[in-house]
Symmetry: C2
Subunit: 334 residues, 2 copies
């Protein structure tokens, strides 16, 4: 067992080692050709993409060379942030949903960060890899099994790398537990629990003016995530967002590093949370009170792994509840 000081140092080093920027190189360069400055293009600069921008402009070894969005207001906001930081003006791609392809053609871009609505993730990542760019894509990265294979097949065909930007993997508590797993504190692993238990009702609905809450609109009458994310709850009865839970567990369980997922079952509860929210905040006569949501409020998925562990994943985003991803790591030692 290492000392607490050593433990924190190791964790900090692991965290730095896993941050993506210092190790990225242009896809056309060999790893040993150290470059002074990484040229990053941002595809999608909503709230999440803007947050990435704010982090990137703090660094001297990164230059944001291109911005792409269909929303001119977001582009203007981000261009201003870059200007205020005293950095060079980026190339702008705001010519509709497919202008990102022009961004990918640019030699001013080594790598891209994709922070667009979910249904664009795989398509854009595949196109980025085909264009020889390193691609960082927001979760959930893929929506179907076919899309998962699209990512694998494209990586194998192009040799270009992509990374899922699953931020929970790098939380300090998660890295601490990962360190404990690797030090075999838990012994041989047997069982995991994880998930996404997060009351997103104010994210799924707004008033078209503010990004969070203030109304019960979604889709075209809403802005930000409620504009597109909520439709997944209308149309899909599934755990549409498993990676916050599964990302850290997959690393701890050596998934695709000597272990793999074998099979799963999934159960959905009734769906009442979003409807109740609309009735409570918009009234029974609001048009959205008639919307039928397919997504069960609590989705329970259990996975068997090749090494014999079981994993319970929970998706629980439509009911009032305190935030908790509900992690458990259980092994032969406890």
């Amino acid at each position: 067992m290492t000392s607490r000081r050593q433990f924190i140092r190791n964790t900090a080093i692991a965290g730095a080692g896993m941050s993506i920027v210092p190790h990225w190189v242009s896809a056309t360069q060999k790893p040993q050709d150290k470059i002074e400055e990484l040229k990053v293009g941002l595809i999608g600069v909503g709230l999440r993409g803007t947050n990435h921008l704010q982090n990137l402009i703090l660094r001297n070894d990164v230059r944001v060379t291109a911005l792409c969005d269909i929303d001119a207001d977001r582009i203007a906001l981000c261009r201003n942030l870059i200007k205020e930081a005293g950095k060079n003006a980026p190339l702008i791609f705001e010519g509709g949903p497919y202008d990102y392809l022009n961004l990918l053609d640019s030699k001013e871009v080594d790598a891209v960060i994709i922070a667009t609505p979910w249904l664009w993730h795989t398509r854009m990542t595949v196109d980025a890899m085909k264009a020889g760019k390193y691609a960082g894509v927001e979760v959930s990265a893929a929506n179907t099994l076919e899309e998962c294979w699209d990512l694998v097949n494209t990586h194998e065909a192009t040799g270009t790398h992509m990374m899922i930007l699953e931020n929970v993997n790098y939380r300090r508590d998660i890295l601490a537990v990962l360190n404990m797993v690797k030090q075999e504190v838990f012994g041989e692993l047997v069982h995991f629990r994880c998930g996404y238990q997060h009351d997103l009702r104010h994210v799924k609905f707004n008033n078209g003016k503010q990004p969070y809450g203030g109304g019960v609109e979604f889709g075209e009458k809403a802005i930000s995530e409620a504009r597109w994310r909520t439709l997944h709850s209308v149309k899909r009865n599934a755990d549409v967002y498993p990676t916050h839970g599964l990302g850290p567990v997959a690393v701890m369980a050596d998934i695709n590093r000597g272990n793999r997922f074998l099979s799963l079952t999934s159960h959905a509860s009734k769906s009442i949370g979003l409807h109740n929210y609309i009735v409570k905040n918009g009234g029974e006569d609001h048009p959205n009170a008639d919307v039928e949501f397919k997504q069960g409020d609590v989705i329970t998925t259990t996975i068997d792994t090749a090494r014999g562990e079981t994993i319970i994943i929970t998706h629980d985003c439509n009911l009032p509840r305190p935030y908790s991803l509900g992690f458990r790591v259980q092994g032969a030692n406890g």
Copy 2:
């Protein structure tokens, strides 16, 4: 919302109302024929049956009239407890595994409490109902789907009552939450979690001299529960003990009172806990180190109900862990 005082009074009344003894009447009497003293026979007086006896001899409205066990030492111990309490000597049935049938024939017995190994539960309860006795049977009460139907069919044919003695249902915390459910504190119910998370390794193994631990023997070389219970872990890969968790949830979810279980899936993790315990405490050369345990260490079962709730049940008894049944009740209000 009631006051705390009222709440506690209601809970206490509910507890008393649900305790089995005051409302029992001889099966041959009509409910309105109030009897002075209930005549109870005990079938199985191991640790659990003896515990029932100790509670019963504190009451003035109950007389323990018969004892049945294949172990003469346990009979002697219990007979002594009755004598020390200044009560009349009971009838004794210690003539082998089927002498309980003679107990059931006795007119000195109105009701029986069955606290024998699991595989005897259904058979003895069915025979008790056929003999016109009220039967209280320890958990788990049935081991197969067919046995569950045996209990239902016998009740419907005889009109005689049986009750599963699921003690967790009557814990103060469980009754408090049940009261909250009935007062709709949680709102419409959506999701439950429950189970049996209890490190039973010292129950599953002993040294043949003491009931708990002190060795790694089970079966014929062991005494008490390790003599029979551990074999279920050798031969069955299943949640063999779901009622501690499912009993309270079934009441809260109105199962068979307007709601019902529809379907389930079940996943078992690897099985390493009991083997590791034997190796650690008995050494690699102990004969039991070669035993293959079928039962996975963590069994996860998810049930769908007719009203659309989901229930996760956990069986987790072979690993070092703190005791917790892991209850969660989740509804539209939280």
